[in-house]
């Protein structure tokens, strides 16, 4: 609003630069979206590294288990055993927390702005999915919840070895073989990865746009194309190991 007290010329309208402006802006939807974007991109970088590690399944048991052991000693002696691993885990946990906190806060604001109905606030049953929006864009929230539940299941399954339908093992290689020899485990991973693919298709694009990287109509196309490539790369890269184990090419 207009504050005539803090201006240089008497009678001139100046934009309020009060201390409250910065504090209020820190809670704005723009900052929450920037938080979602940065935390999301950190997780995308992790996924790319994770996917690369998974593909070592083709190098055989020794190489795969050796890589797993290496992740626990990397950084020694500067870092203690598993030090680097725990640094990554803490960064990822913080990212997950920021991502979920921002998502629910923004979801709440979006519902408050549309009487809880979002795009369905019109009586007309026509064009309920808008005129151009992508499938990915309107499955972000429920897709995100699905992915969150999958991550818990996945950690209990292959990291903690707690859910071990095909038999527990101290060898990460054997854990993968045991799990992915069972059709419903493979199916659960396929479903989760497709959900992840849709989430990343819109998520990667909107992360860059939220951070200010969408500077023109042409750039919008480029960022959307890049998001599709990243999403497809991650889905295909992660799907290969479970599928080749299930069909029995790697045993």
């Amino acid at each position: 609003m207009v504050h005539s007290s803090d201006n240089a010329y008497s009678g001139v309208m100046v934009i309020n630069k009060g201390v409250g402006a910065r504090t209020a802006a820190l809670r704005s939807s723009v900052v929450l979206h920037a938080g979602m974007a940065v935390s999301g991109l950190i997780m995308v970088l992790f996924l790319l590294a994770h996917m690369y590690g998974n593909l070592k399944i083709f190098e055989g048991r020794q190489a795969f288990d050796g890589y797993s052991a290496f992740l626990r000693v990397v950084g020694e002696p500067l870092l203690p055993r598993s030090g680097a691993l725990w640094i990554v885990r803490v960064v990822l946990l913080l990212s997950v927390f920021v991502h979920i906190y921002a998502a629910f806060t923004l979801w709440h604001r979006s519902r408050a702005a549309t009487r809880g109905k979002g795009a369905w606030r019109y009586e007309s049953a026509k064009n309920r999915r808008g005129v151009q929006r992508s499938y990915s864009s309107f499955t972000m929230r429920w897709g995100g919840i699905l992915i969150g539940l999958f991550v818990i299941y996945h950690i209990l399954n292959l990291t903690a070895d707690y859910i071990a339908p095909g038999g527990a093992s101290s060898s990460p290689y054997q854990r993968m073989i045991n799990s992915f020899s069972i059709w419903w485990v493979v199916l659960s991973y396929v479903v989760a990865l497709i959900a992840l693919g849709f989430h990343l298709r819109h998520g990667v694009w909107s992360a860059f746009a939220s951070l200010g990287a969408n500077t023109s109509v042409a750039r919008r196309r480029v960022l959307n194309g890049a998001a599709t490539v990243v999403a497809a790369l991650i889905v295909v890269g992660f799907l290969i190991p479970p599928l080749v184990i299930w069909v029995g090419w790697v045993r």
Partner: protein
């Protein structure tokens, strides 16, 4: 031609609204959507019924007053078109057309199809201007503006403030409108001194009015009658983030 309208009727902000059907006959394809509503209203007036209240002013597509969600789409099925410039030739004989006001919590319904869009005015009041002492017009060449910046500012300034972006947004966000204001003034040299303060003031006012955040879906730019591009939201995002990083605003 003859069309069946299902129109949102609501007596005032305090009462509940509902869809009511009307058959409208004798419509020419050369009538605009609003002229078709005029035909309906003349009939309703003659038969002693309450005419349908709707916003309109210039009927030339430049004032930003007309505001109808037609079949759930802000300003109807044609791109880059305001409701007043939408012609009945884009519909077929016998069509059932749903006509609703722009639903958003920050746009309370005044009556029938009229909503109160003064929330957008308050965003402008918070930062959609430059602070300059008035006086004689400055020399035309006193402030050099690069052609690209002038074009960009003009593209943003074409925003007529109709609020279609809010009506179309699944999040009820007014970020396309707000981004257009930030881009318009932020692209010009006259807008630079207050660029950081403006970005913060605009976004704070936007959120305080109860509009949702932008999830970069793009429905807003698709229905915008003047084609404000989605990247103007990204411009505002960048300005807000850099303003927060700059201690000297």
């Amino acid at each position: 031609m003859k069309v069946t309208l299902r129109i949102w009727r609501q007596h005032d902000g305090a009462s509940l609204g509902r869809m009511i059907s009307y058959d409208v006959e004798g419509i020419s394809g050369d009538m605009s959507f609003l002229e078709m509503l005029d035909v309906l209203n003349e009939r309703l007036t003659v038969t002693g019924e309450e005419p349908v209240a709707f916003d309109h002013d210039c009927r030339e597509g430049i004032c930003g007053m007309c505001s109808l969600a037609i079949d759930g789409v802000a300003h109807g099925p044609e791109g880059l078109t305001t409701t007043c410039q939408l012609y009945m030739r884009h519909f077929s004989d016998g069509d059932i057309i749903d006509v609703e006001p722009w639903h958003a919590e920050s746009f309370p319904v005044v009556r029938d199809l009229i909503v109160d869009r003064s929330a957008l005015d308050r965003i402008i009041q918070a930062g959609g201007y430059i602070s300059a002492p008035t006086g004689a017009a400055p020399d035309a060449a006193a402030n050099l503006v690069p052609k690209k910046a002038a074009d960009r500012a003009f593209d943003a300034a074409t925003c007529i403030g109709c609020g279609a972006c809010v009506a179309a947004c699944p999040n009820g966000s007014a970020m396309l409108f707000t981004g257009a204001k930030a881009t318009h003034l932020g692209a010009l040299p006259q807008g630079q001194p207050e660029r950081n303060a403006r970005a913060l003031a605009l976004v704070n006012a936007h959120d305080a009015e109860g509009f949702g955040g932008c999830t970069q879906i793009g429905e807003c730019t698709a229905v915008c009658p003047v084609g404000i591009p989605l990247d103007m939201i990204s411009r505002l995002n960048a300005d807000v983030l850099s303003a927060l990083g700059d201690s000297g605003i």
